[in-house]
């Protein structure tokens, strides 16, 4: 996989992970182009499209689009399930995940992604193993930190 992008229905980028070296300018250009292309597609259309010399696999979950760019020989369907497994992982971790969870806990979203995919390849497919790794890290965190600001954010979530 060359990169993964998460963006909202309004076209706001929520998470980006690049597995190939690209300049910031290129990344921005690619993002703009893909967000536009994917948002323009109708709901019943197929989840794959050719783009430059890559294949784009995308799927929408509620207000968020998950979009992966894979190479010619890569398997589209299994990529679709990579997306789904990632959503499941987020869901399990956050407890019915929503866009705001990803906005405000972006670092967790990244950590989960890194446990699941590394260097653009699937590292660990077992849900249990991935979440175990994250929970261990959280335990380390709990020890050293107190919760802060959580009230403010809960307030925000409601207001949104």
């Amino acid at each position: 996989m060359q990169f993964m992008l998460l963006f909202s229905r309004q076209g706001k980028l929520r998470l980006q992970k690049w597995y190939v070296p690209l300049s910031d300018k290129e990344k921005k250009k690619i993002t703009r182009e893909l967000v536009q292309t994917v948002l323009a597609r109708k709901p019943k259309m197929c989840s794959f499209l050719e783009w430059r010399d890559l294949k784009i696999v995308y799927k929408r979950y509620a207000s968020l689009y998950f979009c992966c760019a894979i190479e010619d020989q890569d398997n589209e369907l299994i990529t679709l399930e990579i997306i789904h497994r990632y959503v499941e992982l987020l869901d399990k971790y956050f407890g019915s995940v929503c866009e705001l969870d990803i906005i405000f806990n972006f670092e967790k979203a990244y950590f989960i992604l890194d446990e699941f995919l590394l260097g653009g390849e699937v590292q660990e497919t077992s849900k249990k193993n991935v979440l175990k790794a994250i929970e261990q890290a959280d335990l380390l965190q709990e020890k050293t930190e107190t919760m802060y600001h959580s009230k403010i954010f809960i307030g925000f979530k409601k207001a949104y």
């Binding site: 980028l13 980006q16 010619d72 369907l77 590394l118 660990e124 497919t125 193993n129 600001h149």
Partner: protein
């Protein structure tokens, strides 16, 4: 529930307006900057908080140009969360500042050595995310050790494997192969499926470039796969995904197997069983209604089909795969229909399944008409293109044409190119071809590129049987009140050349033709008008009766004083030409266009350019490539020879296919000069020794096809040749440079006994034995390459000049490389094949001093002229040249790879040739070495 470390009040995601957001962000950035610069040292917690805020702002889409140092500081914190945020910042905002990189690498080194698996994990994740060359330099030696160490934890092993993979992708030269590779292969047997999953990706990538080193992975991968596909859905616990056992791993294993040719019979049996099981499972009722179940199951199925296609050796599996895809063509899931169409495209290029694919033609055509998603329709067009052959070409071309009327603008040009190529390639009847292209212009004139209309003109000019029809058809098409400018161009050109063929009909008399064309003149763009002016002057030559009318037009102010320089110049010159030139001169100047020589259809080249060379290969090319390269052996697959026996229609186009396949008898021309030969036949030296300098001239023709082969005071011999697959045709022009006749002029083609069985050459018809002074006569030699050869045929010319007997012999530059067909391939394919041809007798290498200045562009041109494809960006060293192609002979095709490494300092080259046949490697190496 979680600490929301993004920080207070910064959630610009919820800010109402863009300006408000930017204002808020700038304020926050200034705040953070002042904190970082402040006199008071920040504690780890605050540093983490601000670094995290910066990340958050960056992810909102704003540029961040500071904070790297603070992030690097966090790396050396002992607190997990601080370290973690530090690493995240570094991975997301990669920075190429070398001082920073040194610090980052130091921190990573410490964490890798810490033996704390969580810290090691973070460090490895960071390397895998950044993957820069500096990191490869620092860690590529270390990570293999971590990977194979006995006491490394499973999760660390997984990260290490993929981390190494990332470094290998960016800097393959920095990852040393060694003892660790065999231990990595054995990770395929690991207890922990997560470790196997990660390791399989690494092994696949490494095996693509080093197949030999990793070939033991084949049997291990097959047994692992076999265990997975036969396991019950609960056996693998958490690795079962919606009732499908380990789908990700299965896909990766199948992918790994695609790096290799079909395995040995024992392993092959097991693999076939696996593949059959996967195909069988596709027929079973689903275990779940969830789309995830069917996706995971079908992901494995499609990968299995890819492997079956890659092996291209089990007809039974290929046909089953095709039937399975056939079912998917009508599936209600759009995704499956899309993938089935895509996958069938590759199946269509296999000899075994081509026919099976063709049975789905109606479904595919229907998809073209009814699919609501343009990307699916695009796949349907691709598949129709792939399955097209002579039997169904008229139907497919007609369907594509009718689809074109409503096709999406984004894919019109590509469809136009495809229609043009198919119409040409499978034209039995060239009137059909002409009709098709004119239809194309009518329906989608705007999308008809120059290549397409140039091509139709080339074809009409090269085929005299269609010229009259073409003239008549364009004349009729031009009658339409509104016709596309491209039609005016084609019409202008064709009537200018062949208008005379229909001028006998009073309905298309010269004047009517002229008036028709001229009625379009004023609506056209400058280039088209320029073309029409040329047509007019051609008319002056063809039809003297319209000369006054045309001169009037040329003389008018709108032409002679046209603001456009090109038009004005043409008008002035043509008018003058028509006034001063005698009919003879006019006839010479405006002689009919000579046939176009060519090697590759310009349209095909355009399509390749449009879609990238790897995606559109000529179908027949792919077929051959497969049979030559996958099976690897020197013997061609029987299928490919049968493809050869019917010369491709594009060869027909140039009349090359007309060469009689029977062995050549004595050249007919020898009969003409029989007397003369008789006179000298008692002496053994009937044939003169090779003319001096002939060797040099010969070498000059290795990379080109046209030019002067020989010249002395009396005679000049010019050549023009063209080669297609294993056939060639050479036009030889004999010029009498004197003012006196040559008598008993007798050229003879001599193939030595050694050469005889390998090359068939025959002169199509004898030349007139008398060549007038100053005249040039032409002769055609048809050539067929039966198998590879070294020597070249000799052309002997005997004639009488002013009472003296002249005897000249020259080598005809018919060399093995003329039968090259270039093959484009990606870097990984190239190296895979390179490795496959690693037997010592398959490689020939020559190191030699440069005889010419070492110029990159010249070298490129020579390699292309040599006939192989020049593969850019394949060799890791950009100074090297890499080429690939297939030598076509009647009996076999030989895949050839070449690599030329210049050494500017030493003014030397090293040339390496790898082919499946020693003699071929040897000969090609000799030929090409002499060129630099």
């Amino acid at each position: 529930m979680q600490p929301l470390s993004a920080g207070s009040g910064l959630e610009a995601g919820v800010c109402k307006s863009k300006e408000a957001e930017i204002k808020r962000i700038n304020k926050e950035l200034a705040n953070i900057r002042s904190k970082f610069k402040g006199d008071k040292a920040l504690d780890g917690y605050s540093k983490k908080k601000y670094v995290c805020k910066l990340l958050f702002i960056f992810l909102l889409g704003h540029d961040i140009d500071f904070g790297h140092m603070e992030a690097v500081n966090l790396l050396s914190s002992n607190r997990y969360t601080e370290k973690q945020i530090g690493y995240l910042f570094i991975s997301v905002l990669v920075n190429s500042n070398s001082e920073l990189i040194r610090l980052i690498n130091n921190a990573i080194k410490n964490d890798l050595a810490s033996r704390n698996p969580t810290f090691m994990g973070l460090a490895l994740h960071c390397i895998a995310s950044v993957g820069s060359r500096e990191m490869a330099e620092a860690f590529a030696g270390e990570i293999p050790k971590v990977l194979v160490a006995g006491d490394t934890m499973d999760s660390v092993k997984q990260s290490a494997a993929l981390c190494l993979l990332r470094l290998y992708r960016t800097s393959p030269d920095l990852v040393p192969m060694g003892d660790w590779t065999s231990r990595v292969v054995h990770l395929l047997n690991d207890q922990h499926l997560g470790v196997v999953t990660a390791a399989t990706s690494l092994i696949t990538t490494l095996a693509q470039k080093n197949p030999e080193e990793f070939k033991t992975s084949v049997s291990l991968a097959v047994s692992r796969l076999s265990r997975i596909v036969t396991s019950a859905s609960t056996d693998l616990q958490d690795y079962t995904y919606y009732f499908v056992p380990a789908p990700w791993l299965s896909v990766k294993l199948l992918r790994l197997l695609q790096c290799y040719p079909p395995p040995d019979p024992a392993v092959r049996g097991r693999l076939t069983e696996c593949l059959e099981t996967i195909l069988n499972k596709a027929q079973e009722p689903p275990k779940s209604k969830k789309v995830q179940h069917s996706n995971a199951k079908n992901a494995v199925l499609f990968e299995a089909i890819s492997l079956i296609i890659h092996h291209d050796s089990e007809p039974n599996l290929l046909v089953r795969a095709c039937n399975q895809l056939g079912q998917f063509l009508q599936h209600r899931e759009t995704n499956l229909r899309y993938l089935a169409l895509e996958s069938m495209c590759t199946l269509a290029s296999s000899e075994f399944s081509h026919e099976a694919v063709k049975t789905h033609i109606e479904t595919v055509i229907n998809a073209l008409k009814t699919e609501r998603d343009v990307s699916v329709r695009q796949r349907a067009v691709d598949l129709l293109y792939a399955m097209c052959d002579r039997s169904n070409a008229p139907q497919i071309v007609a369907e594509m044409l009718s689809y074109l009327e409503t096709a999406d603008y984004s894919i019109r040009e590509e469809i136009v190119l495809k229609v043009a190529i198919l119409a040409e390639k499978y034209a039995v009847d060239y009137t059909w071809y002409v009709d098709t292209i004119l239809n194309l212009i009518r329906i989608a004139g705007d999308y008809v590129s120059e290549e397409v209309w140039y091509r139709v003109i080339q074809i009409v000019i090269n085929r005299d049987d269609v010229q009259g029809y073409a003239a008549k058809t364009v004349f009729e098409a031009l009658q339409a009140p509104a016709c596309h400018e491209n039609l005016v161009k084609v019409g202008g050109y064709i009537l200018g050349e062949f208008g005379n063929l229909i001028a006998g009909d009073p309905r298309s008399s010269p004047l009517i033709q002229f008036n028709l064309l001229h009625s379009k003149f004023h609506l056209c763009s400058v280039p088209t008008r320029a073309l029409l002016l040329s047509t007019y002057i051609k008319f002056v030559n063809l039809f003297p009766e319209v000369k006054p009318t045309i001169q009037d037009v040329l003389r008018s102010d709108s032409q002679l004083r046209n603001a456009d320089v090109e038009l004005q110049q043409r008008a002035v010159e043509y008018l003058r030409l028509s006034t001063v030139a005698s009919t003879d001169i006019l006839a010479t100047v405006l002689e009919e266009m000579p046939p176009f020589p060519e090697r590759e259809s310009s349209i095909l080249a355009k399509l390749k350019k449009k879609k990238g060379p790897s995606t559109v290969t000529d179908l027949e090319d792919t077929k051959r490539e497969r049979s030559v390269d996958v099976n690897g052996g020197p013997e061609p697959a029987p299928a490919s020879t049968s493809a050869m026996s019917t010369p491709s229609p594009s060869a027909d186009l140039l009349g090359l296919g007309a060469a009689p396949p029977a062995p050549a008898g004595p050249p007919p021309s020898s009969g003409g000069g029989g007397l003369l030969v008789d006179v000298f036949s008692d002496s053994a030296s009937v044939v003169a020794p090779l003319a001096p300098g002939s060797e040099d001239n010969f070498a000059r023709f290795v990379c080109k096809n046209n030019g002067v082969l020989f010249e002395n005071q009396l005679l000049q011999i010019g050549l023009k040749s063209e080669f297609r697959q294993n056939l060639g045709r050479m036009f030889i022009f004999y010029g009498n440079k004197t003012s006196t006749q040559f008598l008993n002029f007798t050229p003879t083609l001599i193939c030595s006994d050694e050469l005889q069985p390998n090359i068939l050459g025959f002169i199509t018809k004898p030349v007139d034995p008398t060549v007038e002074g100053g005249a040039q006569v032409q002769q055609v030699v048809n050539i067929e390459c039966v198998s590879d050869f070294t020597e070249a045929p000799v052309l002997n010319i005997q004639f009488r000049y002013g009472g003296t007997f002249q005897n000249v012999s020259v080598q005809l530059p018919i060399t093995l490389n003329k039968f090259f067909q270039p093959t484009e391939m990606a870097s990984q394919d190239f190296f895979q094949r390179w490795k496959q041809l690693s037997n010592p007798q398959q490689e020939v290498q020559n190191i030699f001093k440069a005889k010419h200045p070492m110029d990159t562009e010249v070298t490129k041109a020579k390699i292309i002229g040599f006939g192989s494809a020049l593969l850019e960006e394949v060799d890791p060293n950009p100074a090297n040249f890499v080429g690939a192609g297939i030598i076509h002979t009647k009996t076999t095709q030989i895949g050839c790879l070449l690599r030329l490494e210049p050494n500017l300092q030493a003014q030397m080259y090293r040339l390496t040739l790898r082919t499946s046949k020693e003699a071929v490697s040897q000969r090609l190496c000799e030929l090409l070495s002499a060129q630099f």
